[in-house]
């Protein structure tokens, strides 16, 4: 073995070779080969200039990126806030039906997204139970961007709750008692003690909710109305391109989304690494 570069350190855990091999195979088959193929497919059929024209500079495509990433960011931010509150309630308080609520958190995972999309559309359309209250105010929810944000918030919610919950459970009550004995108010204790302690978990939840929202298609399809330049998300545009047999155009958009999503996740991971600097 070359000095200085140790692939494998002596360890009591057996099976490094086997597990590493399995991981590479698994990641390769499921992630690396399909995504690499996507990039390769585009690279062999489009020059850089063509890629720019068709997948970036086209105003319709650009509008869809803006909507997709913008709405996803808003949704993930909302989820970070509300998900934290939901996790807090589930960890800190006991109330009748707590287990039921706890189980309900995962429902958006299990539900076919088309179902939640249709349900939300019915509810938020200008004649729907909730939408009718917004209609007189001149706010259109369904078939407009607020509807998209709502759909993306719904499908991303479990991520934040499920990542923050264990972090909150691990937080010793003594920390809050210590802060209180030092004169801190409830708010100061939350701001300075609890929030920084759960921040890494919160960022993980945020990243997963964001990633899920960027890739979401089913629920948005029903609530968005899908008007070009206005309520057309990027994944839908890919489908439209495919239906027009424009495979190259579809994969070009796919590649751009891939790159942007990867960059976003990388930034969030760096933030997480920074927020964990105080941990071993």
């Amino acid at each position: 073995m070359v000095n200085g570069l140790h692939w494998k350190r002596p360890s009591v855990l057996p099976g490094f070779g086997l597990c590493m091999g399995f991981m590479l195979l698994y990641m390769g088959l499921l992630v690396l080969i399909p995504l690499g193929g996507l990039v390769l497919f585009t690279a062999t059929r489009l020059s850089a200039a063509e890629l720019w024209d068709r997948a970036i500079a086209d105003p319709r495509v650009l509008a869809s990126y803006r909507l997709s990433f913008g709405a996803s960011l808003i949704a993930a931010t909302l989820n970070a806030g509300f998900g934290l509150v939901v996790a807090w309630v589930l960890v800190r308080y006991t109330f009748p039906g707590k287990r039921l609520v706890d189980a309900m958190v995962d429902l958006p995972f299990a539900l076919p997204t088309a179902v939640s999309g249709i349900a939300l559309t019915t509810l938020y359309a200008h004649t729907g139970w909730i939408g009718r209250w917004f209609d007189p105010l001149g706010i259109q929810v369904a078939y407009a961007w607020p509807g998209i944000v709502i759909a993306l918030t719904l499908i991303g919610m479990p991520f934040v709750v499920r990542t923050v919950q264990p972090a909150l459970e691990d937080l010793e009550p003594e920390l809050e008692e210590a802060a209180a004995s030092l004169g801190a108010t409830r708010w100061q204790t939350f701001r300075r003690v609890i929030l920084p302690a759960v921040l890494p978990a919160l960022l993980t939840g945020f990243a997963m909710a964001l990633a899920r929202a960027v890739g979401e298609f089913g629920s948005v399809y029903f609530i968005a109305g899908n008007m070009p330049y206005r309520t057309e998300i990027a994944p839908l545009l890919i489908l439209i391109r495919l239906e027009q047999f424009d495979y190259v155009g579809a994969t070009a958009i796919g590649v751009v989304m891939l790159v942007v999503a990867f960059a976003l996740l990388l930034v969030i991971n760096l933030l997480q690494w920074w927020s964990r600097r105080f941990q071993t």
Partner: protein, 353 residues
């Protein structure tokens, strides 16, 4: 700042953690709450801190004649040190100690003052140069000193410590308790600490409050509770003890073929009694002297230690333990099964069978 606790009770469900407890701690004292787990000592400390409320309608609590029973922990002006440190992991040592100063809403000190104060406290707890470290980079003893500095930063009127050395290993624990004693001599802040370790209480405290089953068994100086235990429980809890069953007859108590005069302050006892002898109060002789003694056989000898511990069985099959000096042991040539004569030097007698 004195603490005055009057008739405080605390119930958790059906469990009575504190049963009508009253206690006064004078200004500048260092008091130990000593007892086994479940004796209510931590509950009492947490009620003093305001982390726990006494049962509704029970008891009163005063800090220097000021009623604080209904005051929130953040307004009581107490410093609290937890057994498991409860340091803020995401903050450096400096920020941990500065926390109490930074969250002040009225009269918040300026940065320069905070800096000066924190560095001064770190010097006091002998952690200069550690200001930039994070808690996970410190040893247990260092963490607990950070926790102490953090509690002292707000200049508490009362310092409360919940088994402060309980999570540390034996050697560090000994060092820290000697150090805490010295620190208290410097600062003179009224302090109450909880411990289940009688050596710790005896060494550190001005006064010891021995607790059992939610009640106070005895309050006194270390000498008092050790040499003049008021109850059987205190006798048992503070050190090893040999127990005999006996009967009081006039001015003497009879147990295990012995008839000994017993301490005058116990003369009101009549009939069945229990007799207690500390192992170091059991003398051993190889020959029958002129004084009344019990014949016994040596069962085991542990000679590794400052004292030699001899386990004995009397002719009536009563087991007892004696502790003698190494010098005395060297003159006697004790081996298992050798016959010896034992004599209790001091006995304590409590009523009951």
């Amino acid at each position: 700042m004195s603490i005055d606790i009057r008739n405080v009770s605390k119930t958790f469900g059906t469990f009575k953690a504190l049963d009508d407890v009253s206690l006064r701690v004078d200004s500048g004292e260092l008091v130990a709450l000593l007892g086994p787990s479940g004796s209510g000592k931590t509950t009492l400390l947490r009620i003093i801190a305001g982390l726990e409320r006494a049962d509704p309608g029970s008891g009163e609590m005063f800090f220097h004649d000021e009623d604080v029973a209904r005051r929130h922990v953040s307004a009581r002006g107490v410093g609290f040190v937890f057994q498991h440190y409860a340091l803020f992991r995401h903050m450096s040592v400096f920020e941990n100690v500065a926390f109490g100063l930074r969250v002040k809403r009225r009269h918040r000190p300026d940065r320069a003052f905070i800096r000066r104060k924190v560095l001064e406290l770190l010097r006091l707890v002998q952690l200069e140069g550690m200001a930039g470290r994070y808690p996970h980079q410190l040893s247990g003893g260092q963490r607990q000193r950070v926790a102490l500095a953090r509690a002292l930063a707000v200049e508490p009127k009362v310092l409360l410590l919940d088994e402060p050395f309980g999570a540390l290993d034996a050697k560090v624990r000994k060092e820290l308790r000697t150090w805490l004693r010295r620190l208290h001599d410097e600062l003179h802040v009224t302090s109450v600490f909880v411990t289940h370790d009688q050596d710790e209480a005896l060494e550190v405290a001005n006064r010891i409050v021995v607790m059992n089953r939610g009640r106070i068994e005895q309050v006194g100086t270390p000498d008092d509770v050790f040499h003049h235990p008021a109850t059987e429980f205190v006798m048992h809890f503070l050190g090893d003890v040999n127990t005999f069953h006996g009967r009081v007859n006039g001015g003497t108590v009879q147990f295990s073929e012995l008839n000994l005069p017993f301490p005058e302050n116990r003369r009101q006892i009549v009939g069945d009694a229990r007799v207690f002898v500390r192992p170091y109060d059991v003398t051993i002789d190889t020959k029958m002297g002129g004084l009344p003694a019990l014949e016994a056989k040596v069962a085991r000898v542990h000679s590794a230690g400052p004292l030699v511990r001899v386990e004995l069985v009397t002719s009536t099959n009563q087991r007892l333990v004696s502790e003698i000096s190494q010098e005395r042991f060297a003159t006697m040539n004790l081996a298992p099964d050798s016959t010896v004569y034992v004599r209790p030097r001091h006995i304590r007698v409590f009523a009951g069978g």
